[in-house]
């Protein structure tokens, strides 16, 4: 890294931190204005609907239940568990999505036959499918995959869709003259796929993977709900939901950890894209 790029990265981190600080300040100012003016629109501001920033921060350091480690330790463990489900789901969904995209680009018939069902699959709410996935998948899994394996499949279900659509689009976007060029070289379909179509598709695939990165975390959390799993963030969310009226700060703390997990997944994909995809920097022409 050059000095300039280090400085740019530092500048960017500083901006992120400044924005975060501004957000926290806004939260407290909003609270103060609404409570002192007694406004009730759009909702009544109380310690339950909007706990203080410091109450939430303090909650991380205290045990949620007696004789337990502090909340942050518990949440990090749960986040790690959910991260495992999400990561496996992401990988599974990405591979399935990419493979389907490659298959579909080579056959118009397959495209016409399959695509409507792929689209339809995403119109069914994940909560409606999750219990069935658990029932179908769990019995087939070895003991070390029990429970969380089915959740990974649910996460994959949310991941694969943007990947299929964008892979297909990306593979089809190869330049017509580049295809002519490969034709004059008598390149086989396979060669055209790997040397031209796939590299062309990568920027498209990566924008799908960015979407998938956050979708797989959401998929994993939601997938935990019907599975009755207590080891992940989904279990924690259900649990703290029940105590919201007494200790809202614990659900808020959990949500912050869940959001952070999604951001980590997203940033990881962006970093991978920087390493893998070499394209002209986008400059206004």
């Amino acid at each position: 890294m050059t000095n300039a790029s280090v400085r740019r990265a530092a500048g960017r981190s500083l901006a992120v931190l400044a924005l975060l600080a501004a957000l926290l300040v806004f939260w407290e100012v909003y609270r103060w204005v609404w409570t002192s003016a007694g406004w009730t629109w759009p909702f009544v501001v109380t310690d339950t609907s909007m706990p203080h920033v410091w109450t939430i921060a303090k909650a991380f350091g205290q045990p949620a239940q007696v004789n337990q480690p502090p909340l942050i330790t518990v949440l990090l463990h749960k986040a790690l568990f959910t991260a495992k489900e999400a990561a496996v789901g992401f990988a599974l969904g990405a591979v399935i999505g990419f493979t389907l995209g490659v298959a579909l680009v080579h056959s118009r018939t397959l495209q016409r036959g399959f695509l409507p069902y792929i689209v339809a699959s995403q119109t069914i709410p994940i909560l409606a499918i999750a219990p069935m996935v658990v029932v179908w998948v769990n019995p087939k899994l070895p003991s070390n995959l029990q429970g969380w394996g089915a959740v990974a499949v649910i996460a994959a279900y949310l991941t694969f869709f943007p990947v299929v659509i964008n892979t297909l689009r990306g593979l089809q976007s190869a330049d017509a003259r580049a295809l002519d060029l490969m034709r004059t070289y008598a390149a086989s379909r396979w060669t055209v796929l790997w040397k031209l179509r796939v590299p062309t598709s990568l920027p498209y695939v990566f924008s799908a993977l960015r979407i998938a990165a956050t979708a797989c975390v959401v998929g994993a959390i939601i997938g935990e709900l019907p599975s009755g799993l207590q080891s992940g963030l989904g279990g924690a969310i259900i649990n703290f939901n029940q105590y919201y009226s007494i200790e809202p700060q614990e659900l808020w703390a959990t949500n912050i950890v869940a959001a952070a997990l999604g951001i980590i997944f997203f940033v990881t994909v962006v970093a991978a894209e920087k390493v893998i995809v070499h394209r002209a920097p986008e400059v206004p022409t």
């Binding site: 330049d175 003259r177 580049a178 002519d180 060029l181 034709r183 004059t184 070289y185 008598a186 390149a187 060669t191 040397k195 031209l196 590299p199 990568l202 995809v277 070499h278 394209r279 002209a280 920097p281």
Partner: protein, 272 residues
């Protein structure tokens, strides 16, 4: 020249595009001897690019045959007999300059060491030695086109097809690349079919100029270019050069009598 087996033999080729029933080519006969540099020139819509694509087996003719070194065009294509350069460089932006030049060599199954040696040789020929590790977007348009030329010539194909390769470049770059192209052509003793809009470019580069006329696309005449070889920047100033340019222009004009106004406009542009 005539003692050799021709590299290209086009016999009775016609091409009708079903959409709109456009007769793009009608009864084209053309033969290219080894190491010939033949330019196809004519106004837009005269079918010169179509002819190039038929020769390269990128589209099928409606009638007639194309033979390359005694083989059908389809066979020639699978034997890797063609190199091609388009108006745009069509470089793969995810590959470095060197990797772009190496692309056809990879497809031919050359091993790494052989590829590397040839790429270096080609980089030297197009004077881009220091740019092997650059990505295409870091180069100017002229440099990109030189990479495309290096890629096309790298495996010494039997026939080079060039479709207005310098059409998008400024005049000065174009003239310099004309000289570079001739040097490479002589060095590698290749056979070239060159499509262009520019009369002076066609005369300067070619051993023979094929003048085409539109609707239907036909060969209006052939002009043997008997300028001494190798050609230099001074060639463009010789009286013979101007005579030949005039000869080609006359042929284009002769066929332009019953053209639509916008076609005449194109013709004038082509003549400039």
């Amino acid at each position: 020249m005539s003692t050799h087996e021709p590299v290209v033999r086009v016999e009775g080729v016609s091409k009708i595009f079903p959409r709109g029933n456009v007769v793009a080519l009608q009864d084209i006969d053309l033969t290219l001897a080894p190491q010939e540099f033949v330019s196809l020139i004519g106004p837009s819509g005269c079918g010169k690019s179509t002819l190039l694509r038929v020769i390269g087996d990128l589209i099928d003719p409606t009638a007639g045959t194309v033979t390359i070194n005694g083989k059908p065009a389809r066979q020639a294509r699978s034997d890797h007999d063609y190199g091609i350069v388009f108006q745009d460089a069509v470089l793969f932006e995810w590959r470095t300059v060197s990797k772009n030049i190496a692309l056809p060599l990879e497809l031919l199954g050359w091993d790494r060491a052989r590829r590397k040696a040839r790429v270096e040789e080609m980089l030297e020929l197009v004077e881009l030695q220091q740019f092997g590790d650059h990505h295409p977007w870091q180069l100017s348009g002229g440099m990109q086109q030189r990479v495309a030329i290096a890629r096309a010539f790298a495996f010494e194909p039997a026939l080079l097809l060039m479709d207005e390769p310098f059409g998008a470049l400024d005049e000065m770059t174009r003239e310099r690349l004309n000289l570079e192209l001739l040097a490479i052509w002589q060095h590698l003793a290749s056979t070239v079919v060159f499509v262009t809009h520019s009369i002076s470019e066609a005369v300067f580069l070619s051993t023979r100029v094929v003048v085409m006329s539109p609707r239907p696309g036909r060969i209006a005449g052939l002009v043997e270019i008997d300028l001494p070889s190798p050609r230099t920047a001074e060639t463009r100033e010789e009286p013979r050069f101007f005579e030949l340019v005039t000869q080609v222009r006359e042929l284009l004009r002769l066929r332009g009598e019953h053209l639509l106004p916008e076609e005449e406009q194109l013709l004038r542009e082509a003549a400039e």
